[in-house]
Assembly symmetry: C2
Homo-oligomer: 353 residues x 2
């Protein structure tokens, strides 16, 4: 057991080279093993030794690997350093009186490493007996749940009966966004990348209907059929051609919160798909607005209370795909850019015991 | 004098055919002469006979001639009917007790005809002795002044010291927008289509600086030079490549009110210039918002009081290009899409006496 050793072997993912285009490969992201001392005098005051339990795999991580300032404006991971991601760990040594061994903690920038020594700053304790599973803390109560809540509740603010469209509808953000819009009394349609996922979003997440964009490749025709009365709110997770098609179907005063553009991350900007019909935003008086979660952190408590309540009442369901072992990180990241991904992707690095 | 005749000859512009692409030509817009009875029993109750004095020539008129629903979502002019535009006329017969002969009146949809009989509904009396010239009622107090006010004051809402960029900066909207932003204490840079107009916007409208986009064709490089600290507010009047370049220079929380896209009106949407870097809106959390004046009419009184005050105090200057005679309408409309246009274009159909 790690708790009893003075030194551990720890596997960690580091960035060997930047990936300006395409999905990152094993040339860019590499796994290495380091030895880490857990001896008391090697942990500074106010620091903790933590064993990683779960790590959240989200599309935005990719934008930290491009080696240039990109549309998400994210800090780039330094080369040869361990990368970081939203994660949950267990404290195994503490040099901070606020934390003790065995505490389960959340951090938005956990090193993607089996073990680490880190400052307690920004660490948040969570209660593993609160009736919410640990993966759900990274899912409905984590990045995708909060993004869905900001997009629908804060920026979208739809009325009952509004026509809502959500792309990447069975992904991490989409599954919660659809359910939140249904709770507001909206008609909700989604697009996703396979028939199975269309079934999933209808059967599990309560979407009124949806389509597989690999089959219905004429997005304009599809939207005409699914939105005979136009679109009032589009939560955009993909950008590009789907966003352009939506702008041909928007109603007066439609809102388009831009959550991310998963179809565009793997291209340099000059190769991205241009949106040619922004003029439609003038006549329809459309508001399109990009958002990042950090700017909304002051509302995280309000979000967590609402979403936690929905979860406990069974009003919002979560579907997490759990990959096992830290070694699965690279293929997990690649899968969020393919159509194989269902729900929210989380890696279980170690089981919580 | 028209007032003494029972019948007048009236020249009027009508739409002979739609112009899906390009600047409308004499195949599309034609002038004809009709005879109009001014006999008392040929004017219905609640109607007036009006002689047109001034007509406002604005880029948005073009979108009513394309023959299809277009980005501005404007009603199309019916074929073979006289077209309409914002104008000022003089009452020459009245069958409405609220109006009398000699009243000067404003209407957003005046027939572009020397004479007409029209309902008094939506007619607004103006005072020609109020210290504001009649063309200025179509300029600083008309469509472009109100558009500038909504774009800067309502949607843009910049702070003192904000970096503001305005395209089509010496045109009708741009000249007022720049002055309003300066009154708010901003640093204001404009783009326009000739060196003369760059001089005009700096010397007359108080812009801090500006550039000729025909000479500085690398917009990205130009914006790097003029905005070393980035752009906080961009009032977009042109769309296309300039909008795309701006999105490479936006600051966090930048706002982009979309007033119109004069570079795009003469193209069908699939031929328009695609904007490839909307992803930048996510990281920078940019709000882009189209607007039409009708949705803001409830604030017209507030606008007119503010703008009228600025005019009388000499804080806002107006520059109107006056073309003479109703026959100049077609070439006037074409000129607002070329670089030859300075300030706000108004046609004097008849001098006010």
């Amino acid at each position: 057991m790690a708790e009893k050793c003075e030194e551990v072997e720890s596997r960690e993912w580091y960035l060997a080279s930047y990936a300006p285009e395409g999905v990152p490969t094993s040339d860019n992201l590499k796994l290495r093993t380091v030895r880490l001392s857990l001896a008391s005098d090697s942990i500074p005051d106010g620091h903790l030794a933590v064993e990683l339990l779960y790590v959240s795999v989200d599309p935005y991580l990719r934008s930290r690997m491009s080696g240039r300032l990109d549309g998400l404006d994210s800090d780039q991971y330094p080369l040869n350093q361990v990368i970081t991601a939203f994660g949950i760990g267990k404290v195994i040594r503490s040099k901070d009186s606020e934390f003790e061994e065995g505490d389960v903690v959340l951090h938005p920038y956990f090193p993607v490493a089996e073990y680490c020594v880190m400052t307690s700053h920004m660490l948040k304790k969570i209660d593993p007996k609160a009736g919410i599973s640990l993966p759900d803390f990274l899912s409905c109560l984590g990045v995708p749940g909060f993004a869905a809540w900001v997009g629908i509740e804060v920026l979208g603010d739809p009325k009952p009966g509004s026509n809502v469209f959500i792309s990447a509808a069975s992904g991490g953000v989409g599954m919660f966004a659809g359910q939140l819009a249904k709770l507001r009394g909206c008609r909700v349609i989604g697009s996703t990348g396979s028939d199975d996922k269309v079934k999933l979003m209808k059967d599990e997440f309560g979407y009124d209907d949806g389509f597989n964009y690999h089959k219905e490749t004429d997005y304009d025709a599809a939207l005409s059929r699914y939105f005979p009365n136009g679109i009032d709110l589009y939560l955009d997770n993909v950008g590009g051609k789907m966003l352009e098609a939506v702008l041909n179907h928007v109603n007066k005063y439609a809102r388009i919160p831009l959550c991310g553009m998963v179809s565009q991350y793997n291209k340099v900007w000059t190769e991205r798909e241009g949106v040619r019909n922004l003029l439609n935003m003038v006549g329809k008086e459309v508001r399109m607005e990009g958002f990042m979660l950090l700017s909304h952190l002051h509302r995280f408590g309000e979000f967590a209370a609402a979403m936690g309540g929905y979860m406990k009442q069974g009003k919002v369901k979560s579907k997490n795909k759990i990959n096992l072992g830290i070694e699965s990180f690279l293929e997990s990241l690649a899968s969020v850019f393919s159509s194989s991904n269902h729900g929210k992707l989380v890696i279980q690095v170690k089981p919580y015991v």
